[in-house]
């Protein structure tokens, strides 16, 4: 049944072809593929044979030439495995620049280790890796491996060019399945159509790319999936850890997740149900009730991640969360959902791709592998309230920048639907600082600062809360990286509403901040908020993408010693560009020097050609941010 014979044939490596020409010579790589590349995929064949829902054979044969040390990572071969993925074979050899075999390796040369994510207590994932030890470049790795997947719920995505600094001479993806299997497929950024054919009574689809130049990792770039070529495949009938199911869109997938994975796990004891009822007794609004229950859940639980088998998708029993007081995101959301259900408040279990970079579920293509986190949505009338359930300190109804502004899959009894989480806008992500500082004749500064942080900036100083002054001082001296800064008093308070605010009040002293020469004193008025330099990128290829905007406003009053006059002051700025707006002003009234800075960075996407103007704007800001006032000392 399995086409192992074909694989063996793939693997006769022609070190020298019949024509006497040496194959895989590094010198044969065309210059266009060397440009900007640290490694080149010479040939890659990825084949996926879906023999049945619980028997999928995945083979890769790859020839990759590493041009220099920067390409070492492309020679590192990592094979993940777990109870659902078996490594059947792996072998290969290493060729020198001329294509002559230097050494061979097989599975016994691989290192084996656990692959537990750093956020987890335990996971059953493992990996085997082979890291070739080669001292001279270029060299070529020729290898093949075969994995057997005992499930087809998650078919690995095929990437034509997975990583930056890697070019591709030729890469072919072949997918084979029985003709009667219903398969949904989406190719992203692929020119043309997949080639369809019938081979050995199997339906075969083939995607081919040739001569893909390397792409570069660039700052302020869109998500790599916006420009990389890749193919997603989702069979309609699936099997996963002996669970079987069927879906062909988000509606069906959401329904399956709810009915087969979640619903049966929400088993609260009557005592807990009664406790919830009494907890909300006398409260009228559903929102207020939900808030009470949320705070109860926050007090009772903590985040502990354990992922084993289907437990990677299925939450723990709510009764276990109740008994143990911990769970992962799925468990805590499912627990919260069942607590709310106890007082008849409906809610949606929502799968999301969390991270500071906004990433949505693809509305056109449903699949199980697009999320990495779960949150809870409360449809309360017109207004949906969103709950992050894995954090003891986050305010009720506030998601923060971990899951804001993206499409998530709400899994309900009536099916799945895509919902968008709330936006944290440029205006909402605000820091506002007011400082009143006294400069003495030695150049030292004392005074107070009062700063509010909102929106995505709300949790900037979460680490300061509940810490002793000694720890706060450590954190603040790194955050306010000003030489000689000392904090005599630190107060951080939080207004935990749905639009939360953190207020930080500091009493500070900065020794010798304003150094004096015989006749002059040097003051950088922007003491606290200097934007770093932005990399200029020559030949920008990717669009400019600003993932999240923000607004920072700083007002500082310096009380100077009497008689200081301005010898030189940097010019005022009022720079307005499509990327943002920068205002910097210095005014002197008597002995008071006032510094005002407002910097707005707008989120948005611009064509690649605009990057130069953007970098110029950002670097004007960076330069102006560290500009000095020179004072004449009498």
């Amino acid at each position: 049944m399995r086409k192992v014979a074909a694989l063996v044939m793939f693997f006769t490596i022609p070190a020298i072809t019949t024509l006497g020409q040496i194959a895989y010579r590094a010198a044969d790589i065309p210059p266009s593929l060397r440009f900007g590349a640290s490694a080149v995929v010479r040939e890659k064949e990825t084949t996926l044979n879906m023999l049945s829902a619980d028997n999928v054979v995945y083979t890769v044969r790859e020839v990759v030439t590493v041009l220099n040390k920067g390409g070492d990572e492309h020679a590192l071969l990592i094979l993940p495995y777990n109870k659902n993925t078996v490594i059947k074979s792996a072998k290969g050899q290493i060729l020198d620049a001329q294509g002559m075999s230097v050494s061979k390796f097989n599975l016994s040369n691989f290192n084996d280790q656990s692959a537990v994510s750093d956020f987890s207590l335990y996971e059953d994932d493992r990996l085997k890796y082979y890291n070739p030890t080669i001292t001279s470049y270029p060299f070529t790795m020729v290898y093949e491996y075969e994995l057997r997947l005992k499930q087809n719920l998650i078919i690995p995505d095929w990437y034509a060019n997975p990583q930056p600094d890697l070019s591709v001479e030729k890469s072919v993806y072949t997918f084979n399945a029985a003709p009667q299997e219903k398969i949904r497929i989406k190719a992203y950024n692929y020119k043309g159509e997949a080639k369809e054919s019938q081979v050995d009574k199997q339906k075969r689809l083939t995607w081919t790319v040739e001569n893909l130049p390397a792409f570069k990792q660039e700052p302020y770039a869109p998500s790599p999936d916006d420009y990389r070529t890749y193919v997603k495949i989702a069979p309609e009938q699936f099997s996963y850890y002996r669970t079987k199911g069927k879906y062909s869109n988000w509606d069906e997938l959401g329904k399956w997740i709810y009915t087969d994975l979640i619903k049966t796990r929400q088993n609260l004891s009557p005592a807990v149900v009664a406790e919830m009822k009494s907890l909300v007794q006398g409260v009228d609004s559903d929102k207020e009730k939900a808030k009470r229950i949320y705070e109860y859940m926050q007090r009772k639980t903590r985040y502990i991640s354990v992922q084993i088998g289907i437990g990677g998708f299925q939450p723990m029993f709510s009764s276990d969360v109740d008994r143990l007081g911990y769970g992962d995101c799925k468990a805590l959301v499912s627990y919260m959902q069942s607590l709310l259900a106890a007082v008849d408040i409906p809610s949606y279990y929502c799968v999301v791709y969390a991270g500071s970079r906004k990433q949505s579920m693809d509305p056109e293509f449903a699949s199980m592998d697009q999320g990495n986190h779960v949150i809870l949505a409360l449809p309360l009338g017109n207004d949906t309230t969103w709950l992050e359930c894995t954090n003891q300190n986050v305010p009720f109804g506030f998601l923060g920048d971990f899951t804001d502004d993206r499409l998530v899959l709400a899994c309900t009894e009536n099916g799945g639907k895509l919902l968008r989480t709330p936006v944290l806008s440029t205006q909402m992500n605000e820091t506002h600082r007011k400082a009143t500082l006294l400069v003495d004749k030695t150049g030292s500064i004392t005074g107070t600062t009062n700063t509010t942080y909102k929106g995505a900036q709300y949790d900037t100083h979460e680490a300061l809360i509940r810490k002793p002054l000694s720890e706060q001082t450590k954190i603040l001296s790194n955050y306010y990286d000003v030489d000689n800064i000392n904090f005599s008093q630190v107060s951080v308070t939080q207004e935990k509403t749905e639009k939360p605010v953190t207020t930080e009040k500091l009493n500070i002293r900065i020794g010798a901040y304003v150094p004096h020469s015989q006749q002059s004193a040097y003051l950088i008025p922007n003491a606290f908020n200097r934007h770093p330099v932005t990399k200029a990128v020559s030949n920008r290829k990717l669009p400019l993408h600003i993932n999240r905007g923000y607004t920072d406003e700083d007002e500082i009053s310096y009380q100077l010693p009497t008689g200081y006059s301005i010898e030189y002051q940097p010019k005022d700025f009022d720079l307005k560009t499509p990327f943002g707006h920068y205002v910097a002003k210095i005014t002197k009234k008597g002995d008071e020097l006032l510094y005002y800075r407002k910097f707005t960075l707008n989120d948005g996407t611009h064509p690649a050609k605009d990057y130069a103007a953007f970098a110029e704007f950002m670097n004007q800001v960076a330069t102006a941010d560290k500009a000095k006032v020179i004072l004449k000392v009498n």
């Binding site: 040390k69 001292t135 903590r302 502990i304 003891q392 810490k467 000392n486 010798a512 150094p515």
Partner: protein
């Protein structure tokens, strides 16, 4: 400072039959729940109430092998939610060649006080996970259920540890404070262990008694020394920036087997004296055996040495050959992992493989190199009370040519001959060879981490500075640059990165020399344009000559320091600039040349500025001469940097000559 002292001699053994004083499991003092403040440090999030351990040599009746029966029991007070992380527990089990540590008698419970009664939750054994981390290590992991601020957690377990050579070590100090930490070592009288205590704290108490017939081997019952070590009110260990590994400073007690008296009256030394260690190492197949593999290289020597003229160039040729033939597999080790022959075949090996191969090859070339064993920075400082062989995790070669000692490590392709990787710079190493007794040798960087910038440029009337920037890098500075060039893939790509990171200037032409000539100074030459002023039609120009490497941030931010500041190697930065001005200028305010220094020649910063009509010149020097500064020197080091930052804010104020 690192304190290590022998404490075994202090013990007066008395006879007694006392049993190990473990505290009862599951019994609480009311005070454990009454107060919700940590006692040792009131700001702590969690605190060890009591911690107790024993280590005892036992014999496995089935295999006849000796093992260590280790018992651990702890009770921790959780003060607040931040302290919940103390409820996530990870117990490492080591895997040896043919055996692994085994855990048994595991118990774990969390308790909290609820309306006058104590609620208890045991950890479900099904929720205790064993992660097979890699081929050397397993981790037993679990988390405490139902934690609340004010909870108490308790757990205990026994380990069957398969190696008696490292008896065990006991950490009195951890990442949370401890009220009471106690360890009992039960050691049969015929085993001698070297015991040493690290860290700045002394023991609160210690005591030794003889315990009768604690171990039975054959028909003989053996007496044991039962030694109890207690430390009370131990503050948490807090890491600081610029420190070497925490294990150098934590309060830890270590035991290392030194010798064994056999029942027949004979004695075998394990680590009695350096003489024994020398013999052990030189006769070990994986060490001395691999230093003598010169036959592997003899045939190749004529080819390797074909261009070499004198001893030094011969040694360099051999060094380059080994670097090219064996790539480091990222494993440390003083012993050869595979053996030199196999490493050469696989073209890959651990540190032992590489540098013992180097020693063999140098032998084949007619040299007489020594091996130097050392402990890397990550591994901690070695003690000199006893030869504790397991403390060493690295080997390098030492070669004397014409009276100069060269320390050689062939594991880093981009380091020049004689410069060790930073990881080796950790005090002293022990020189081992076949002929003489071993001896200590200070391991220092042979070169400073040094860079020199020269700018020769002209200020045009359009306000742009155009000229040539030369940089000369040596030591680790050159090494890091060569690494970046290698990572970038080409010199052009490296220069492009450098250009992109410095938007204030534009590089129009570049040249980088000696990228592959590791023994030479790495030279970079850039034709640059800096947008300095908007025209020069000002009555005054404000110019800051610290055009490169300006220090804007003080690396030392706090006002206190407990541990030494360890920078690894001395550093030196020199800047010099000659700027031709478009017309005659003079100083509006004469700049003050500065010269400041740290005591005992610890560091120096000085600048000299001159203006001669149209010629402005500036030079600056920053030296940090010591690789390590004591905590007492910390504040002056911070102040030194602060002075530099203040100084570098001051501009030159130029005005047109009237």
């Amino acid at each position: 400072m690192i304190k290590r002292f022998s404490i075994v001699a202090l013990l007066l053994l008395t006879f007694g039959a006392t049993h190990a004083q473990d505290f009862p499991y599951g019994k609480h003092n009311p005070s454990d729940f009454l107060s919700n403040k940590a006692k040792v440090d009131s700001t702590a999030d969690a605190e060890v109430i009591r911690e107790f351990g024993t280590g005892q040599i036992q014999k496995d009746d089935q295999t006849g092998r000796l093992y260590i029966d280790y018992h651990y029991h702890v009770k921790i007070k959780i003060i607040n939610a931040e302290g919940f992380k103390s409820g996530d527990i990870e117990i490492p089990l080591r895997i040896y060649n043919n055996a692994a540590d085994e855990m048994y008698d595991f118990k774990a419970t969390s308790y909290y006080h609820d309306n006058g009664s104590i609620q208890q939750n045991d950890v479900d054994p099904k929720r205790v996970f064993t992660e097979n981390k890699n081929r050397y290590l397993k981790l037993v992991k679990f988390t405490m259920p139902n934690l609340k601020p004010g909870s108490v957690i308790e757990y205990s377990y026994r380990l069957k540890r398969q190696s008696i050579f490292n008896f065990t070590s006991w950490e009195f100090q951890g990442d949370i404070p401890k009220q009471h930490s106690e360890f009992i070592a039960l050691i049969p009288a015929n085993y001698n262990f070297n015991v040493s205590l690290r860290g700045s704290r002394g023991l609160t108490s210690q005591n030794g008694v003889v315990q009768r017939e604690c171990l039975r081997i054959g028909a003989n019952g053996m007496d044991c020394s039962k030694m109890t070590y207690i430390m009370k009110d131990v503050a948490a260990f807090k890491e600081e920036a610029y420190m070497t590994t925490a294990s150098n400073f934590k309060s830890v007690i270590n035991f290392e087997l030194s010798d064994v008296h056999h029942a027949d009256g004979g004695r075998s030394n394990i680590t009695r004296s350096w003489k024994d260690v020398d013999y052990e190492l030189t006769s070990d197949r994986s060490f001395g055996g691999q230093m003598k593999q010169k036959d592997l290289f003899a045939a190749k020597m004529p080819e390797i040495l074909k261009d070499a003229t004198d001893s030094l160039s011969k040694a360099k040729a051999v060094f380059a050959y080994i670097k090219d033939r064996i790539k480091w597999n990222n494993y440390l080790g003083k012993y050869s992992e595979k053996d030199v022959k196999k490493a050469l075949e696989a073209r890959s090996g651990n540190i032992g493989d590489i540098n013992l191969a180097l020693i063999s090859a140098l032998n084949a070339a007619g040299f007489n190199p020594d091996a130097v064993i050392l402990s890397t920075r990550q591994n901690g400082v070695v003690g000199d009370l006893y030869p504790v062989i397991t403390e060493f995790d690295y080997v390098i070669a030492k070669l004397n040519i014409g009276g100069t000692d060269y320390l050689l490590d062939a594991s880093e392709p981009l380091l020049p001959f004689g410069l060790l990787p930073m990881r080796c710079l950790n005090g002293k190493g022990r020189v081992v060879n076949f002929k003489k007794a071993s001896y200590w040798f200070d391991i220092k960087a042979s070169q400073k981490d040094a860079v020199k910038y020269n700018l020769v440029a002209k200020l045009d009337t359009d306000g742009k500075i155009k000229g040539t920037l030369y940089t000369f890098s040596s030591g680790y500075n050159a090494y890091h640059k060569r690494e970046r060039i290698a990572e970038a893939g080409s010199i052009d790509a490296y220069v492009q990165q450098f250009d992109e990171q410095n938007p204030s200037f534009e590089i129009t032409k570049h040249e980088v020399i000696n990228v592959d000539s590791l023994d030479k100074i790495l030279e970079e030459r850039y034709e640059i344009t800096i947008d300095q002023f908007e025209g020069t039609d000002y009555s005054k120009l404000f110019y800051n000559p610290n055009f490169l490497n300006r220090i804007a941030s003080n690396p030392f931010k706090l006002n206190e320091r407990s541990y030494p500041v360890d920078m690894g190697a001395a550093t030196e930065t020199r800047v010099s600039m000659i700027l031709t001005l478009p017309e005659k200028f003079e100083f509006a305010e004469a700049p003050k040349d500065i010269a400041i220094g740290l005591s005992q020649n610890g560091g120096r910063y000085q600048t000299v500025t001159k203006l001669d009509d149209t010629m402005l010149s500036f030079s600056g020097l920053l030296q940090l001469n010591k690789p390590v500064y004591t905590p007492e020197e910390y504040l002056s080091l911070k102040e030194f940097y602060s002075k530099i930052i203040q100084q570098q804010k001051i501009d030159l104020i130029l005005q047109k000559t009237k």
